[in-house]
Symmetry: C2
Subunit: 408 residues, 2 copies
């Protein structure tokens, strides 16, 4: 029997999805499971953008241009202009989800063995794309004590080698919800210019900022050749299944290279490009309503978490995730136990253990990520379950700051 590849063996399973079999088993026992593990919003996709697809009249479901429909790309320039980001449509390549934009960035800008610095904890699937591109992720640790702020410049600089090619941030952050300030972005600018690095900025959650406003990497001056923004409609319009994202840069050489990768996979999905194009025309107050809903969910979740003895949760400034430290021996074990062994009023909760969001193997053992993508009633029930579970969990343990501080 032929062997599978090393990367096939080494690919880490998704920390967000790896406990799915335990959740399915719980459901089979008749237990209701609140899914706070995955960023699948329950918010309805705006009906008018679904209708743009449903009322379409084309007769052949053709390939689009490899860079996406020109009409969509042109329309997107007006979306970005609202954020004071001024682009020509040729600087936007439509991708199959934000996922493909991340993969294209790594493939086009880094050689196998090259290094990319990413503040950890980070979106776990970056590991998968780095494995595909044979790129080494070098983590720089942000800590829960510091609410996951950007690590100091010296922490970045001591990691830079001749193989370092890029820094990747997610702003606002998944999984921490941290919203980087303009000053932090300026710090990254300085580092990138000094060391001739790319700055990849994953701005999937741009619209969901609850304290202050978003400052995009594309707004940094003098960074035309360095900045690549990785974008997606998934969370923005509750349209995760569309699989439409965007690769945005002003660096023409990078665009030319990415176009070749884009051509090799022919085109991004046609249906959801229609939806994405219609989304740019949503009324201006669309995000106000959605943001208000997420803000109130966040407030409830964070309050209820911090009310549980031994639980710490910094207040996230954006996105719809929170990281919490739990008084447990091992969050992986706990997250499995709460699905397998526990129920309160015939309900339980699914969380994402944080270890999979850290590249440093010793970190995040007491942390979990929670996605506040459920309505407040469900969040309330889920938090009650968590509080009850922590009362009786056999592997209870004081939270300690030692682990989070270590950078091994």
């Amino acid at each position: 029997m032929p062997k599978i590849s090393h990367r096939g063996m080494q690919m880490p399973p998704s920390p967000i999805r790896k406990l799915v079999p335990y959740a399915e088993a719980a459901k089979k026992k008749g237990i209701r499971v609140y899914h706070l593990n995955i960023g699948q919003p329950d918010i309805e996709t705006p009906p008018q953008i679904l209708d743009a697809v449903r009322h379409s009249t084309f007769k052949v479901l053709e390939y689009s241009h490899s860079a996406g429909n020109e009409s969509y790309r042109k329309k997107l320039t007006s979306y970005y202009a609202r954020f004071d980001i001024h682009l020509d449509y040729s600087q936007i390549i439509i991708t199959t989800g934000g996922s493909e934009a991340i993969l294209f960035a790594m493939m086009s800008c880094l050689n196998p063995g090259d290094e990319i610095i990413i503040p950890e904890p980070f979106y776990a699937n970056y590991n998968g794309f780095a494995m595909e591109a044979q790129v080494r992720i070098i983590p720089v640790t942000s800590t829960i004590e510091n609410s996951f702020a950007l690590p100091p410049v010296k922490d970045f600089e001591k990691l830079i080698t001749e193989r370092t090619k890029a820094i990747l941030i997610c702003n606002p952050n998944n999984p921490t919800g941290y919203l980087y300030s303009r000053e932090e972005l300026e710090t990254l600018r300085e580092i990138c210019l000094r060391h001739d690095l790319y700055l990849f900025s994953d701005e999937a959650y741009r619209e969901f900022c609850y304290e202050g406003s978003h400052f995009s990497a594309l707004q940094l001056r003098g960074m035309k050749e360095n900045v690549i923004v990785l974008d997606t409609i998934s969370k923005r319009y509750s349209a995760c299944g569309g699989r439409i994202g965007a690769f945005v840069t002003k660096n023409q050489t990078v665009l030319d290279s990415v176009m070749k990768f884009a051509q090799s996979r022919l085109s991004p999905p046609s249906f959801a490009q229609i939806l994405g194009e219609a989304a740019v025309d949503l009324p201006a107050d669309y995000f106000d309503h959605v943001k208000e809903e997420y803000r109130s969910r966040r407030n409830l979740l964070v309050k209820m978490l911090n009310d549980i003895p031994g639980v710490k949760c910094p207040r996230p400034g954006g996105a719809f995730y929170a990281m919490a430290q739990l008084p447990v021996d091992d969050a992986d074990t706990f997250c499995q136990w709460i699905l397998e062994e526990f129920a309160f009023k015939n309900q339980t909760v699914m969380l994402a253990p944080a270890s999979g969001f850290y590249a440093s193997s010793s970190l995040g053992k007491q942390e979990v990520r929670l996605a506040y993508v459920l309505n407040k009633n469900d969040i309330q029930h889920a938090m009650e379950c968590l509080a009850e579970a922590l009362k009786i969990y056999p592997g209870k343990k004081e939270t300690t700051e030692v682990l989070a501080r270590s950078n091994v």
Copy 2:
């Protein structure tokens, strides 16, 4: 300015799309361009499968399961059963087009530097996926004199090294239209079992066989661990823009590995999965009509090509492509010239130069690929243009068999 990657530089441009700027310039001059360069069928997508999407009523465009909707995967087992291929739905992973299935196969089964043997000429985008996976394509040459039949076993065996991990075929073939016989498949089975190789079989054009019937690699006995079928709905239902394909194997270890790659990109597009599922219910005679249309186009195209002095075109047994040898110095130059410098009755034709479909750099210089995806009237006009163009092309040259025979 940071550098782009070696792969970003080395990625070959698409031979199918690289002449697009010349076609656009011709159109701006008011010339009608017949597109025989690209496999974008003009046949209508069956309205009932478009309606399945248009009449959908879901409210949230959610991620699907990373392996695709269970209902779709289960339904697909009945599609394959029609070809005497018996699968459990867990052996089918829905992908983003056939493209992603090819990438997953290379990523999961081959290490960087490993070798995959592919009969050339081959689908040019295999180059792109091999570049992404850092896999070496080793071509084994099939010749126009032999109508692009499977090269003899000895040609394969002399290429096999300790780095060889797989053989990849496309059946029926893009770009040659060659339909592999059961005997040829049995030959590949023998080679793969003897040398412990994977057999990747791209069966995108399974339904379009005009002489005899299709024998799938999944029908080979004793090859459970070796065979991976790469599939797509794109051409089958004239649904290229859906970006829905499938990765099919009975090898559980490979499935487990591919699932990790699938999870890292979250899910395939949701809209077109609905379309794909509806397509399995199309009436049994759907393909009869479509196949009959392609068959008559093929007959017309091949006859008109062979009627042009100096042109040779073997009769393809399947798919909707034909390879023709032209009496020209260099097909790349000719294909550009016919767009840039030529028009007949204010019309011209766009062809794909074959050099991009060969890995051996000296081959295919006099060959072009033609996709018979236009109606017969258009094919007729396109062939008239080609005949007139060859009368006056300044770089005219006898066709020679020397180039095609060389395997350098």
